[in-house]
Structure formats: structure tokens, C-alpha cells
Symmetry: C2
Subunit: 209 residues, 2 copies
């Protein structure tokens, strides 16, 4: 399999999950800071023009949430999701879906307001409103933490997503992780994991080029 | 089970899927046009303050995509997803995730720009940019149609979502369904389904009060 990724983009979520699963994956740099997602060869793989893309021998998968579910189901021995319990699996996917549709999208309003309004006059209000929304999202996420991991006692593929969405607080003045005590402790726990340390080190090497 | 819904909100997606599955569900009106999602009893169920909410004897599920996956897995006899094929399941969830994180969110910018910028000066540009993004999303969705249903030959829980996201084009001048020939044919096919006709009729009765 090949993972098309950009350093510290949301592809890191999938990168960590694949490392957790022990999957054999070749990394392909698609540097979104340099516009790599607009390259015709990449657009042929994913017309939506976004990382991550996971190329498998069955074809291409896109969307963080979908790839996370695939990793959990395709590597059952890694025990990265409650695969035999539809209700518990849905609870995990509800968190992933909130992270994808609300938290991740809110960060995009902060980092890339022009995606949501071409006229620069709109950008200050978009960013201010998104910072308030992000704070509400993170207070909700902080308040729901019940155990060491996102879904409680068992580590799942929701963890790489919750971790990256917490870790992005340090970017572009989006927020202060220490304001969310449970998430702050959680992020420290995640940064101690072997897979997370390895993925960050590998992506940093690509970032430095 | 109880489904907390609002007529013609995104809860309709889940409502159709539950009808497709033959699930025994009691409907509970949470009229978002009247602010029902802010009611303390509802916020106790879902602190995120959004419909749909599916209350089961195991607890509460939120997020359209997660509930769709649950319906497919909890009612396997209804054959609403490729449950034994992780790759095909992930392809379906990739479509659902795109609908949730991109298409659905783009509609929200058109219908409720104030959610994304408190200052009204930002709203015209937000709406104009979202209308362009919606057109790009729908052209992509139109171009990927390969069969009668969203995922090809087999009807899945992605169909209620793709249908509702197409059907919303008629709202508030968001677009013109006939510009997207494949989606237009598809929406007609969906409107002919017994489950879709029943759900629309039931929700219309609640809407009229």
C-alpha cells in the first residue's frame, strides 16, 4: 500500500493508525504547502484534491474517517476498534465523525479562511467565530474524556484523530492546549507512544526535505 | 429505539435508513426551526445540540454517518452495506464522510452563514463561495455515479445521504438539480422508493403540526 501524505496535515491521523496496525506502507510525499494536491497525477488518484489517499491493490481510499475504519477492519489482530459490537463501533465513529465534520472543519476556518469566503473582508469574522467554535468543541471533548484513551479503556483508531486535533492547537495561535486539562494529559500520553513518536520523526524528516 | 428528528433536516437521512432496515423506531420531534435543539432535556441527550439522535437501550448515538453505519451493522438482514468487505465498506464510508464533512457543511454555509461568521459583513462572500464549492462537489458526485445507486449496483446506507444532499438543492436557491443529470435521475429513482415516500409523508405531517 502507498500512503500519500503531507507532513503534519490530517494525513498524520491515518499515518499513526497504519503504524499502530503494523501495516506495510510506502510513504509518498504530497506537500500541500507546495500545492502538491493540485498535481494532475495526484488529482487522477483523488479528484477531491486532498490528502490522505491510501492506494491499495483494490483501489484508492480517501477521507480520514473511512481509512481509519478500513485500518481497524483490515488489521483485526491489532484490535484498534470494537469490531464485534456495532453499538460501540458506532460510538467510535460518532467521535471520528464529529472530529471530521466539526473540529477539523473549524480548524480549516482558522488556518484557511479563504477557502470559505473569497472576499478578505470576511476573514477576520470567520476566524474569530471559528476560534469560539473550536473552544466549545474542545470543552466538549475535554468533558467527555472517561479514561486514558478517546473511547475509554481501549485504544482505538479514534485516538490518532483526537490526538492530532488536540496537537493542532499549537499551530497559528489556534488555542492553548493547557486550557483543556484532560486533553492536555491525553496528548502527553499519546506523544509517549512509540507509533506517534516514530510518525512525527518521519514526517519531520520529510518536512526538512 | 427513539429517533429525535426535525422535518427535512439531516435527520431525514437516518430516518430513511431506519425505514429501509425495517427498524422499530418511535419518532420524537425536535423542531430545529423552533430551537428545539437548545432544550435542556435534548442537550442532556446530545450536548452538541444537533439532530439526529438515536436513543437505544445501550445509550445514545449521534452523527449521521455513525448512525448509518450502526443501522447497516445492526440490521444485517437488510443488506444495507458490504459488511464482509472492509475495502468496499470503507469506500461507502468515504462517500458518507465526504457528504458529511464537505457537502453537508457547504450547505450549512449557504443556509446558516451566521454559524461561520458573527459579523453580517462576511455573509455574502461566505454564501457566494459556498455556492461555488457546492457546484464543484455536485459535479464530482454527478461524475462518479456508476449505477442506479450511490455505490453502484447495490443500494446502501450511502443512498439516503446522497439523496438528501441532492434534494436540498431545492432549498433557499442553493442550486438546480437538473444541472446534474445523473444526480437528477438518481433523485427521481430515490423518490420512487417506498421508504423515501413514507418518510417524506410522515415528516410533512409533523411539519404541518
Amino acid at each position: 500500500m502507498k500512503l500519500f501524505f503531507s507532513p503534519n496535515a490530517c494525513s498524520r491521523v491515518v499515518h499513526i493508525a497504519l503504524e499502530d496496525a503494523g501495516a506495510d506502507v510506502k510513504l509518498v510525499l504530497t506537500d500541500t504547502r507546495a500545492g502538491g494536491q493540485h498535481d494532475p497525477a495526484f488529482r487522477a488518484l483523488n479528484p477531491k484534491g486532498r490528502v490522505p489517499v491510501l492506494a491499495t491493490d483494490r483501489g484508492v481510499l480517501t477521507e480520514v474517517l473511512a481509512i481509519l475504519g478500513y485500518v481497524a477492519q483490515a488489521y483485526p489482530q491489532a484490535r484498534l476498534a470494537p469490531l464485534d459490537d456495532p453499538f460501540a463501533f458506532a460510538e467510535m465513529q460518532a467521535l471520528n465523525s464529529f472530529l471530521a465534520s466539526s473540529v477539523h472543519v473549524t480548524y480549516a476556518h482558522i488556518f484557511r479562511a479563504a477557502r470559505y469566503a473569497e472576499d478578505p473582508v470576511a476573514h477576520p469574522s470567520i476566524k474569530a467565530t471559528a476560534l469560539e467554535a473550536l473552544d466549545a468543541h474542545l470543552r466538549y471533548l475535554d468533558g467527555r474524556m472517561k479514561g486514558p484513551w478517546a473511547m475509554g479503556d481501549a485504544y482505538t483508531v479514534a485516538d490518532p484523530y483526537l490526538f492530532v486535533m488536540t496537537d493542532w492547537l499549537a499551530r497559528d495561535g489556534a488555542g492553548d492546549e493547557t486550557r483543556y486539562a484532560n486533553l492536555h494529559d491525553y496528548a502527553k500520553r499519546m506523544r509517549d507512544r512509540r507509533a506517534v513518536r516514530k510518525v512525527i520523526a518521519v514526517e519531520d524528516r520529510y518536512r526538512r526535505g
